[in-house]
């Protein structure tokens, strides 16, 4: 089942910390957004395989925007 991971905040993509194809553990961080001077992780709650990264470093994102796709 493909699940989209969304940005919980409006901000920018600071660092992408996983690669397409990675097997993610529950709670693994896929990328870090910057918002309100904070480093906000985007987390794959249920783990799975990272199948798509939809953004690139430095790109602005809005709240609710899908930023990655995980397959369980």
């Amino acid at each position: 089942m493909r699940t989209e991971l969304n940005a919980d905040v409006t901000g920018a993509v600071w660092k992408i910390t996983a690669n397409v194809g990675d097997e993610l553990e529950e709670g693994a961080t896929v990328m870090i957004l910057e918002s309100m001077k904070m480093e906000i992780p985007v987390i794959a709650e249920d783990g799975g395989t990272l199948v798509e990264i939809l953004v690139e470093e430095g790109q602005p994102v809005v709240e609710g925007q899908p930023v990655a796709v995980v397959e369980e």
Partner: protein, 528 residues
């Protein structure tokens, strides 16, 4: 009735009629209608009541209401009134429970000398008179123009009004569960509750449904996109929680009520959770990162402090910058209000503010002490935030916080700035602030403050970034919370691992005055 010429002793024939009428009532809208209802993934009202309340505890009122069909003066059939209600128990405590029967012609036809429920009615009168919680299992579509034909005149809206429903909000816990498509009156009824839940996929809530929307605005939208849980719960916060199924909704209702007193003249029930009040979780010493830029999981932090397994989160998917949960500490019910640093650094936006306002008022009304876990840099800033009236909504939450008289504890975990930070303290009460060594506070965070107060000096400096960092460092040197504690500007600084034990002791003492100050809370004034 017998047609024999012999006189009959006793009331046997009437009892037979009573049982026949009860049998007819139990058939609701008929087996075809029930099958159709089931095929849509929905239970009947009798099944719902059965699934919710303690087994065998339901005592129905108005079981004989409906429209009889007679041949030669004999009852041959009965369409029951499309509302079932009565007295029952949940976890051994009495509740008033009722709901629409959607299998009887969509739940809208019969009218009697007295209303059973829906909006007002016997069930709400009973909740008020007995001072017991009310649970509405809502599955009705609301008013219809067809009533004009039935009565031969138009009916003024609200003739069966919400006056009793509003009265109940101040005296007993009111729970509304939306079990179907609710528009108009039933949707409005769902909102007049302390806590509400809807069922994923099989329920919707809106002011008016797709046909009316199409007619009024020319918008085409299906009912799930207009008022399904993604809209009504996640996006708008109109309804508090989503249940994955009807069975889960019943469990959630039972769970919610377990934190509530039966009415405002009683204390919330204390339950033995078996969790040592002096438990000191080692994880608390390093859960807050040393880097102020890094967030952490506030839910995990809260769970290390409160009794294990005692957290019931309200509105988890709305206003995510704030976490509002009912929980227990040493068996006593508390209302946890915790900022979420994962979302905008914990800044208070319009949705978080609205969520806090409602939750604080809920806890104050039902004598549930508040525990704030604070990590808030202030109100949300920026163009979007101003357009959304963040300041107004935020000040409303400050206003309600200052009106609350329930015991309140402010645990400053990290940031506590500005009016949003102030809103976590009860200046009118004990104003008891317990800080962690990681705490920092002020009118505004140092970065923003320096940028504003030293703008000229920074701009005209040969290396602005370096000068700004220099000034910030100067201020940060004075920012140790221990200095504020020296001045008794904060009442205590504790080892984070002591939080549970410390809170438990004061919470116990705070119960004493609570016992003597029960009853409804009168609130005077106009909210901003």
């Amino acid at each position: 009735m017998g047609d024999t010429t012999e006189p009959v002793e006793g009331w046997g024939p009437e009892i037979d009629e009573l049982q026949e009428r009860r049998r007819l009532a139990s058939q609701l809208g008929g087996s075809d209608a029930i099958e159709k209802h089931h095929s849509r993934g929905r239970l009947t009202i009798r099944e719902r009541i059965g699934g919710l309340v303690d087994i065998g505890s339901f005592r129905e009122v108005g079981s004989l209401t409906g429209q009889g069909v007679y041949e030669n003066g004999r009852l041959v059939d009965l369409t029951p009134a499309p509302y079932v209600m009565g007295l029952a128990s949940i976890d051994g405590r009495p509740v008033a429970v009722g709901g629409e029967d959607f299998t009887v012609r969509g739940g809208t036809s019969w009218s009697g000398d007295r209303k059973k429920g829906g909006q007002g009615g016997f069930i709400e009168d009973m909740a008020a008179n007995y001072r017991i919680p009310l649970v509405n299992l809502i599955d009705g579509a609301g008013g219809s123009v067809t009533s004009i034909l039935k009565r031969g005149h138009t009916v003024f809206p609200g003739v069966h009004g919400f006056d009793r429903s509003v009265e109940l909000m101040g005296i007993v816990p009111v729970v509304c569960a939306v079990m179907g498509t609710a528009a108009g009156g039933p949707a409005g009824r769902a909102i007049l509750s302390h806590w509400s839940v809807m069922v994923k996929g099989t329920s919707q809530v809106f002011a008016a449904g797709p046909p009316v929307v199409a007619r009024s605005l020319g918008q085409t939208v299906d009912k799930e996109d207009l008022g399904g849980h993604k809209i009504a719960v996640d996006t708008s916060g109109t309804i508090d929680n989503t249940a994955g199924s009807e069975a889960e909704a019943f469990e959630m209702i039972q769970r919610y009520l377990s934190y509530m007193p039966t009415n405002v003249w009683e204390l919330p029930p204390r339950t033995e959770t078996g969790d040592d009040p002096d438990r000191a979780d080692e994880g608390l010493i390093d859960i807050v990162p040393r880097s102020r830029r890094k967030p952490y999981n506030m839910r995990t932090l809260v769970k290390m402090v409160v009794d294990k397994g005692s957290v019931f989160e309200i509105q988890p998917t709305f206003g995510k910058g704030l976490i509002t949960s009912l929980a227990r500490v040493n068996g006593h019910v508390v209302g946890v209000v915790a900022n979420n640093p994962m979302v905008y650094g914990g800044a208070m936006d319009v949705r978080a503010a609205r969520k806090q306002t409602h939750f604080v008022e809920l806890c104050d009304t039902f004598h549930i002490p508040l525990v704030f876990f604070v990590d808030v840099p202030g109100f949300m800033v920026g163009v979007e935030a101003e357009r959304a009236a963040t300041l107004r909504e935020g000040m409303r939450s400050v206003y309600v916080g200052l009106q609350a008289t329930v015991p309140s504890f402010t645990v400053v975990v990290r940031k506590c700035y500005g009016m949003a930070g102030m809103g976590t303290t009860d200046k009118d009460g004990l104003d008891f602030k317990i800080a962690w060594p990681s705490a920092e506070w002020g009118s505004l965070p140092i970065e923003g403050g320096v940028a504003a107060a030293f703008r000229r000096e920074i701009e005209t400096s040969p290396d602005p970034k370096a000068r700004e960092a220099e000034i910030e460092a100067e201020f940060l040197a004075n920012a140790s919370p221990f200095r504020t504690a020296e001045a008794f500007g904060v009442e205590e600084i504790i080892d984070p691992r002591e939080t549970r034990s410390y809170l438990a002791k004061f919470l116990e003492a705070a119960q004493i005055r609570q016992r003597n100050t029960l009853g409804p809370k009168g609130r005077v004034g106009v909210r901003p």
